[in-house]
Amino acid sequence: MSTTPQTPPKLNRIGMELAVYRGARTTLCAGCGHNAVTERIIEAFFELGVEPYQVAKFSGIGCSSKTPAYFLQISHGFNGVHGRMPALATGAALANRNLRCVGVSGDGDTASIGMGQFIHMMRRNIPVIYIIENNGVYGLTKGQFSATADIGSTLKTGVVNDLTPIDCCALAIQLGASFVARSFSGDKRQLLALLKAATAHRGTVLLDIISPCVAFNDHEGSTKSYAYMKDHEEPLHEVDFIPHYQDITVDYEPGSSVEVRMHDGSRIVLKKLGHDYDPTSKCAALEALVKAEEKQEVLTGLLYLNTAQKNFLELLDTVSEPLASLPQERLRPSKEALDEIMGELR
């Protein structure tokens, strides 16, 4: 009796094939970090069996903001105006609380023109996965510095940046985002685990991904290049994500890891790499970020997580159904109500 060779599974746990998690062919440069991020998003959502009909994709303007067209082709998407992705995503999240909102932005789209909307989205803790594809440069307009460029980093032309970079992760932690992580587009394993964990979170996820621009910021002197990241990335821990539907017990050496339980029962396991790190402490996170900057290290991993913080929809205390699907009889008060109001105005 011969055993048939094991074919790789074509369908995920909700019976969907990988192809539906893909999108149009990318028009970004070959080797662009953003393409790798797109690939990880496809893998994460496919592997977890995220329902594509319930996903809504958002973006602003720039190279990064083109990418929602390149993944999850049977999900609705909204590519808006420059720096204003958060408002669109917020509106959609308010209208339909069942949507799983994913926003992709860039460092220009977020840290310059979009700073106002970015910080207010973090404050509201709206359930949206906010991805920054951070390359320190404006790609689509051919290579100007963005506000995340490090002091001393240079443009291809040799121009040196002497302004302080904006650390979107530090801001997000201060402002109330409840899941803040930094990763590197070249770090497949870590990025995939963080993206998966992000889908299980029910507040704002800020995922700042260093994603090199091969056309305008991958040269010597850049601090957002592949080579620089290879030398300066400092992972805080190894990230593992165990989804709620997997009943897996992993035996870690005592004291070697930290486990965090998510709302849906999923677990994030952070395996220590050298130093102790508590991802539930804002103070520790901010301190680590500042210290890393001083040492010219790029700290990656899960910087901060708060699973208890209420999100904006919970604070607004809206009904459990999507507002967008409420029928007229629940939206238009009765004639008696109008009569009562008119009576008061007499």
Binding site: A89, N96, T318, S325
Partner: protein
């Protein structure tokens, strides 16, 4: 007894007839002194006597300390436009008293704070000095409250002088203070003190009287912002975003109050709405579009500066074709302008808001009843047309109190437009988001969350083809832009029709929004004073229907009355209808105050006169 030294009654009143229920009162006070309450009580008391009344608040951009004026107009004819002339002044503000007095026409009456000695300024007015500080002390032992209670004294004085039923003052006062019994008591005592003082010390010498009528039975008093808020609630709004700005803030604040009362699920205690104070107007309109895209009825309210900020997003809404309702409570611009004064100044810029070829439907409410109704129409139109729709209110409508018939319950079901469900998609073989299947330029849309493999579409502000795919092809771009133009022509037929009153005259008048009230009154003035009959068309929406075009064509000339400097509506008429402006003459009013009938009448009389003179010159060859 200097304070009560008065001229013998017959010297002035003897020459003048009694003026009953047809005059205006102006109260000049200091902002933040509680005068609003006293003014509302006075207005309500007159209203409760069955006399048609309107109130206009002229206030500064300030919390306390700057001058403010409140005008109450009683009109037995039911005219509610601002009346230019003040017949009765209550001068409470030392800073403005001199100018207030000097601007009065001879024969006007003045109640004033005695120490101001205003009677020395003119000898052709009727002065009533009242020692407010002396009167307030005994009825308000707590010194720090006196400033707030003091104004109620003039309500008592005015009630006595004008013959307003004291019982109506009390009813109005208790209604105003609702459950604040102690405050009501203090204020009532102050009103009584004023009444008693006037009774004992002031001899009536002016001709103005309020006498009972039966013209207000069953009517309500409400401001336009509250009316718009109610309109939105009964139109089923579920996502509201806003950024505070005068004069629109009270619209959303009132909406919040009503929604908490009537839109919280009885069983669960949960809200069937989300109201968000955004970080700015860019965010508030962005959230509206995000929510509209996801299928909710969403709105925001703002004023001119906010409209300017929304420009880019509104272009996105137009091009991506997403519904949303934007209320513009217009104020005087440009820039910060006069934030607490009214204007119809955003007409042209809103019509084509944003870069590229864009145009947006607008509704122009004239009254509180109409803005209530138009909010419902705006939500229907936005979803039917899949585009942002503007409700063009203004400060005069939004922040002033207007008398109205009670609002009628909207019986018509919501019109949600062309939305395909998963079941619909099963039947439709080839769905393309921007395909014009019905020939009306309006495509079919799907909402995020629709469980179907072909439901998704990618909304993008960049060039897109009929299937919402990215394109830069000239032919795709032109086809899409032409379809959007076709959709606008469909909108033209769906917008509320203009209101036309024709007497088969040669001369026509066109107005919109709050200018209506001055025009209505002016037409009677023109008829009485100049024997000039006019036809009248009130624009209620943009794009304009063929009736508007016909009206202009059918008249020898048409006066377009509006509250801005640049004749914005006239230009928009020419632009949209593709007609010249030769036949259209303008009556323009833009000083920040609501337009009044006299201004309209004088302008038309003057223009008619110069046309007549020119014709005579032409004929006689001189």
């Amino acid at each position: 007894m200097a304070s009560t030294e008065v001229l013998p009654q017959e010297t002035i009143l003897g020459e003048r007839e009694r003026v009953v229920n047809d005059f205006s009162i102006q109260v000049a006070t200091v902002n933040g002194s509680g005068s609003q309450t006293a003014n509302m009580v006075l207005l309500r008391a007159i209203f409760q006597m069955g006399v048609p009344v309107s109130g206009k608040n002229l206030f500064p951009s300030n919390i306390a300390g700057l001058p403010t004026w409140f005008t109450i107009r009683a009109s037995k004819h039911g005219y509610i436009a601002r009346k230019k002339e003040t017949d009765f002044l209550v001068a409470m503000n030392p800073e403005t008293a001199r100018d207030d007095i000097l601007s009065l026409a001879p024969g006007a009456a003045v109640v004033y704070d005695e120490p101001l000695k205003l009677d020395q300024l003119r000898d052709d007015l009727i002065f009533y000095p009242v020692p407010f500080d002396k009167l307030v002390a005994p009825c308000c032992p707590e010194a720090k409250l006196r400033k707030l209670v003091r104004n109620m004294i003039y309500d008592g004085v005015m009630a006595r002088l004008l013959g307003i039923d004291l019982a109506q003052v009390e009813t109005a006062l208790r209604k105003q203070f609702k459950k604040k019994v102690k405050a009501a008591e203090l204020n009532w005592n102050a009103a009584l003190a004023g009444y008693t003082f006037a009774e004992e010390n002031l001899e009536k010498r002016d001709p103005y009287f309020i006498e009972p009528m039966n013209e207000t039975a069953g009517k309500i008093i409400i401001d336009g912002n509250a009316a718009a808020a109610l309109g939105a609630m009964f139109a089923g709004v579920s996502v509201v975003t806003w950024y505070p700005i005068t004069p629109s803030s009270s619209l959303v604040e009132t909406l919040i109050d009503y929604m908490k009362r009537y839109r919280v699920d009885k069983e669960t205690g949960k809200a069937t709405f989300a109201i968000v104070q955004a970080e700015d107007e860019l965010a508030s309109v962005g959230m509206v579009l995000g929510a509209g895209w996801a299928g909710a009825r969403a709105m925001t309210a703002t004023s001119g500066p906010g409209i300017s900020l929304m420009s880019e997003f509104v272009g996105l809404g137009y091009y991506v074709e997403v519904p949303g309702v934007i209320v513009d409570v217009q104020r005087a611009g440009p820039s910060t302008g006069l934030p607490t004064r009214t204007m119809q100044g955003d007409v042209l810029s809103t019509a084509t808001l944003s870069h590229g070829d864009t145009k947006h439907p607008m509704l122009f409410p004239s009254s509180v009843g109409e803005v209530f109704q138009m909010m419902g129409q705006a939500f229907d139109l936005a979803e039917q047309l899949q585009t942002p729709v503007f409700v063009m209110s203004d400060l005069d409508l939004g922040m002033n109190n207007w008398m109205s018939d009670p609002f009628l319950y909207p019986e018509k079901p919501f019109q949600r437009g062309k939305v395909l469900t998963a079941e619909d998609l099963e039947r439709v073989k080839d769905w393309g988001r921007y395909r014009d299947v019905d020939g009306d330029g309006i495509p079919y849309r799907t909402l995020p969350g629709t469980p179907h493999r072909r439901a998704a579409w990618f909304a993008r502000g960049s060039g897109h083809d009929e299937y919402a795919r990215y394109t830069e092809r000239p032919i795709d771009y032109v086809r899409n832009m032409d379809r959007l133009a076709r959709k606008f022509e469909t909108a033209r037929k769906m917008m509320p029709a203009p209101e036309i009153d024709t007497r088969l005259a040669d001369i026509g008048i066109i107005a919109y929004g709050t200018s209506h009230w001055a025009v209505e009154e002016s037409r009677e003035q023109l008829r009485a004073e100049s024997r000039l009959e006019t036809d009248y068309l009130r624009i209620r929406a943009f794009p304009f229907s063929s009736e508007v075009e016909d009206f202009i064509r059918c008249h020898r000339r048409v006066y377009v009355v509006e509250q801005n400097r640049d004749a914005q509506m006239r230009d928009l008429l020419a632009l949209d209808l593709g007609i010249g402006t030769e036949k259209m003459r303008s009556v323009l009013h833009y000083n920040g105050l609501p337009i009044d009938a006299r201004t309209v009448t004088a302008s038309i009389q003057q223009q008619e006169e110069s046309i007549r003179a020119a014709t005579v010159r032409e004929r006689t060859g001189t």
